[in-house]
Symmetry: C2
Subunit: 152 residues, 2 copies
DNA sequence: CGCAACTGAGTTGCGCACAACTGAATTGCT
DNA sequence: AGCAATTCAGTTGTGCGCAACTCAGTTGCG
């Protein structure tokens, strides 16, 4: 009797993934409270700290989020004074998102976060890298399968 | 220069976890469409198929969900005719959740799902088990760290 | 017994995620 | 040039996930 095909909850990798993801998010909630950011907002800030002045579309592609999620999120970041949003002159459909001074400054309060999270995970650099690789492979495999099942 | 401490998005395991979790959920969305269930609803049904007639509190402990999430979810399952909810006689605070006939019958439509998901993940039984183990370890480690940081 | 502390489920409010849609701007094709 | 198809951001509606709260019911302690 193999595990595959079982409907038992604890057999399922997906539940492990779901639990792990929620556990990590809830740790981020604690850590990010001081920066007044949610985890998805933090992801957007990370993307902007890495490269400023991006189109909403580009952020969406990098984070795999659509405008339905990003638009209100970016409005909240703008309301918090962390980013500016400006329509692009040469293509009025696009909106360019850039860091305000406060948004740039916030980076200093964030530099210690990856170490805290890494520490909490209790993995060495090699373990982190391996898991990261396996998760990426999993994501790609699952996404390919889903797209085959139900084409975008 | 180590990876730890980097604010680069692609270095972060958490983003991999977040992406993988969303990818899996979105595959479930396609697969579960035929059963008219969301992924969290499916988790509750799994728990009930495994053992029927449970208190809301017990379901919450198993799935790590609080009443704020479970109460409306269970009301929706009840509205869909899949479960019954009854106040326990000897402790009027507790609510017992049990499968209706339709809820029991739905299991037959679900038996093939784990294989589909397993196939989509492209891992053999050993790979699944190992990843499952590592994710469980990660979850526990992260939860312990969070509770130390911000005691419940 | 009496009453304070606690427990269990539910509600409210907020922020994702995502589908479905809108509307304006641009592109492409004839 | 003209117009259909596409693109981009934003809006609407639904369902989590979680904090904070309410409220009834139960427990525990003097």
């Amino acid at each position: 009797m193999t595990d595959t095909g079982s409907l038992r909850l604890d057999d399922q990798l997906c539940f492990g993934l779901y639990s792990a993801s929620r556990a990590v998010t809830s740790l981020y909630r604690v850590v990010l409270a001081e920066l007044d950011l949610t985890y998805p907002q933090y992801l957007v800030m990370l993307a902007l700290w890495e490269r400023d002045d991006r189109l909403v579309k580009e952020l969406g592609a990098e984070l795999n989020l659509d405008s339905g999620t990003l638009s209100p999120l970016l409005k909240r970041l703008e309301a918090a004074g962390l980013v500016d949003r400006t329509r692009q002159a040469d293509d009025e459909r696009s909106v360019r998102v850039s860091l305000s001074d406060a948004g740039k400054a916030l980076r200093e309060k964030a530099v210690g976060i990856p170490d805290v999270i890494g520490e909490a995970m209790g993995l060495d650099a090699a373990g982190l890298a391996r898991m990261r690789r396996e998760l990426d492979r999993l994501t790609e495999s699952v996404n390919a399968y889903r797209e085959a099942l139900s084409p975008a």
